[in-house]
Symmetry: C2
Subunit: 279 residues, 2 copies
């Protein structure tokens, strides 16, 4: 396993972690100031600051982009909705290319409004990824399917296990892989085996960390700082690295009641310390 | 598939559904008054009303017990804790036998305090079930492992998929099976296959229904009335019945902000209507 304390350059900050009090340009400057060498920005933040300004500042500081958040949200109630999703995903792909991201993260979407047909939503997801892959593959942009925790199956992502994501990848071929976020997959009895399976096809494109708090008080916005919850992060990182992953350890914390309220400089200090000591 | 409208006797009320405003004896009387022929009571309610009184009233009304809630909570930080869990499970078993329940539901427990070792917790669960099975099997009481939604992996149950429960059952042999609760398993891509697998060994001992609300505002106490959420209940019931299940459709709704606040007579009327029309 890699010694993270000896490799600060492997730390990446998903910009959601400090988004409440800093705009994207402040986040870029802040990360540079803290010696953080990689980020993963979100589309709405990029749109707000302007992609040219963001791109210029990222390059000025030589930051790596461990991923771009995010494409996906494929299922829709009708063909017009699916066409809009396809168009939007192409724009996300273009932005990821402009920014030089290592991969485009896909949060695939859940049930269309009014639908209870999970099998159909999953089929729509696969069609959507296949369509996007036709543009992404020749452009050289990797697509990373992020399986989300099953508690998001209805409204955010109906790909809920690494097995499911691996199955899709195997059917669709080169250029599509997975993002392993410990928060979403830590509970999965098949996790070790499915990480190894993804590794055999060199499909692990991203690795995200935060922690599962006990109790968790909100389904979306109560994620914990690494070390404050129950996830055995080093064990999972060990599996991911044994499977050949050499990329960034990306910290992504949605925490409305705690970390989002704090001074982002303090948050980044804590992130750096926990990265060294508990990840 | 069975026509539920023609079979009101297949409806069972898990007593948690109306527990906030009625004690157990009131629930038994209420169900009898509403023509409901089966219930699944909880241990704390039984203890409060007294097992003799509860048992007598259940028999007076000829109610069936589709399950007894609950055994489990096996993992502990030390051997003394595990011994206490074993003793407590034996008492639960004795109570289930006195009450004449069809099965003892097992909510297996999560991580012991301070532990991040999910594999160890899962091993402790299997040991605990194996030990309980030594008493349950000769007594003729079936043990039903209820896989809980992965969002409960840390604090309530580290058996989170039907595949996992089926694996345990196959290793432990006769007398142990599964409780399929749509709330916990609806998202699982392997659900249809794992229901069929459980059916092949005649291991489906219970079938529970409620609904997944969008949005869900609380991890534990925001479950929906059937029809108010996104779960395709008839599809899952179809799979369960195709797998040979002939037992009750048990309604179990934890709803602190809505159904628990209402008049239980109204709740039971709505349950009966939804049972006929959307399950």
């Amino acid at each position: 396993m890699r010694d993270l304390a000896a490799h600060p350059e492997l730390l990446s900050i998903n910009t959601a972690t400090v988004r409440e009090r800093w705009g994207l340009l402040e986040i870029i400057e802040g990360c540079a100031r803290h010696g953080i060498r990689a980020i993963a920005p979100w589309r709405d933040q990029v749109a707000k600051s302007g992609i040219e300004a963001a791109s210029k500042l990222i390059r000025k500081h030589g930051l790596k982009l461990s991923g771009y958040c995010r494409g996906g949200m494929f299922p829709a109630a009708d063909e017009a909705g699916r066409a809009r999703a396809r168009d939007d995903n192409r724009r996300a792909l273009d932005e990821a290319l402009i920014l030089g991201a290592e991969c485009l993260i896909l949060v695939v979407g859940g049930l269309p409004p009014g639908s209870k047909d999970l099998a159909d939503a999953r089929a729509q997801v696969e069609d959507g990824i296949a369509s996007l892959l036709e543009q992404a593959r020749p452009a050289g942009m990797k697509l990373a399917i992020e399986p989300l925790h099953p508690m998001y199956a209805a409204d955010r992502a109906c790909v809920n296990t690494l097995a499911q994501a691996n199955d899709i990848c195997e059917r669709l071929g080169d250029g599509v892989g997975v993002a392993v976020d410990v928060y979403h997959v830590w509970w999965d009895p098949a996790l070790e085996a499915e990480i190894a399976r993804a590794g055999r096809s060199r499909r692990i494109y991203a690795f995200h960390v935060c922690d599962w708090l006990v109790p968790t008080t909100d389904l979306l916005l109560d994620r914990g700082m690494m070390g404050d919850g129950v996830i055995d992060i080093p064990r999972i990182r060990g599996w991911v690295e044994a499977a050949g992953f050499k990329g960034s350890v990306e910290v992504e914390i949605f925490s409305a009641a705690n970390w989002w309220k704090r001074d982002p400089d303090e948050v980044l200090e804590v992130v750096k310390e926990r990265y060294r000591t508990v990840c």
